[in-house]
């Protein structure tokens, strides 16, 4: 009887051990948000309109690199967390001719702690957008509308572009 009691205790002891080998925490929380742009029809501002042959490039250390080629009516782009601005060149194909427009995004970066497995994320405050023409061929982007002042999550779009 007494022997059983002791064995029971030992089993509990070992059991507690095995249970305490908890699984590694995996990063499932939201980290640094992307800039989400949604494209709308300039003639009908309520209707989403995809951009024909959209290509987005950005500059890293002086070299242009393609971020995304997207036929959809919305796009999410990474912002450079080690700088206070990111420049994109958005290219639209109009009658087989590429029209490039430059979008300059300026912001303040704030690093926020998320958790053990995710580390820190950046959020972007006081975001501002500037459009510039490239190659003097007029802007294909007719107008823009800023939805949020800060980019803190990816729940909603941050910028509307009309074309």
């Amino acid at each position: 009887m007494k022997q059983n009691k002791i064995y029971l205790l030992i089993i509990i002891l070992i059991g507690t051990f095995l249970l305490s080998c908890e699984r590694d925490e995996i990063c499932i929380d939201e980290v640094t948000p992307h800039l989400t742009i949604r494209f709308y029809d300039n003639d009908d501002p309520e209707t989403k309109k995809s951009v024909n042959g959209l290509i987005v490039v950005s500059e890293i250390n002086g070299i242009l690199d393609t971020i995304k080629i997207s036929p959809k009516d919305s796009i999410s782009l990474p912002l450079n967390v080690y700088d206070t601005q990111t420049t994109y060149i958005l290219t639209k194909k109009i009658d087989e001719i590429s029209n490039e427009d430059k979008l300059i995004v300026t912001y303040e970066v704030e690093n926020v702690f998320v958790g053990r497995s995710c580390g820190y994320k950046s959020i972007f405050k006081n975001v501002d957008y500037t459009l510039e023409d490239v190659n003097n061929d007029d802007l294909w982007i007719k107008s823009k509308e800023q939805i949020t002042e800060h980019i803190e999550n990816e729940n909603n779009a941050h910028l509307k572009i009309f074309h």
Binding site: K2, Q3, K5, I6, Y7, L9, I10, I12, L13, I14, T16, F17, L18, S20, C21, E22, D24, E25, C27, V31, T32, H34, S58, I60, D65, I67, P78, N80, V81, Y82, N111, V112, F113, V114, G115, R116, S117, C118, G119, Y120, K121, S122
Partner: protein
Amino acid sequence: MKTMHILKYFINTVFLLCFSISFSQGIGSQKKDTIYKNKYGLRVGIDLYNPIYTLIDDDRKGLELVGDYRISKKFFVAAELGYLENTTDEDFINFTTNGQYIKAGLDYNAYENWLDMENMIYVGFRYGYSNFSQTLNTFTVNNDYFFHSLEQIENGQKFDNLNAHWAEFVLGIKAEIFNNLYLGFSFSGKKMISSKQPENFKNLFVPGFNRVFLNNSGFGINYTLSYLIPLYKKAK
């Protein structure tokens, strides 16, 4: 790292089983003809886990003094006092925790000794308190790979005057290997009660508590070598 942990638990379990065999020899043949007296006194010792850990992993340095005082046949007042410096390396953060801790509580010896043996299989509880600092050595902003920006930021930010209160449940064994010299092993499950958190960071490791899991729980193991300073003997 993961295999080391698995190995650690394996070795622990084997160690534990060795103990259980040596204990079980004494069971089942009790005679009440002679009254054996129990030794009462102050038992002091050190924890062997941290010094051994330091040998294989330089990221952890610490010292813990343990002590208990027998108040009755079954009950012991127990306390631990320690210092720990530990560096935690995660995917996106690397930080060093530095501080001291104290634990105090009660142990109950559930083991019925044979003859005049003084072994223990015990359960206990502790209240723990620690004050410490956290130094964020480096961190990486978890962001899009596009900007090749998974570079580490040297931070070195120090968060001082942090503290934590917690409760512990202890299961352990102590065996008298030589006269008055004890070798012990214990496992503790911990639950955080309250903790003063740093700003824009979190107490992911607390001295004496060890790694703080998501549900504010933790666990620890101790190997102790202790010496009983016998003060008097009593039949009960």
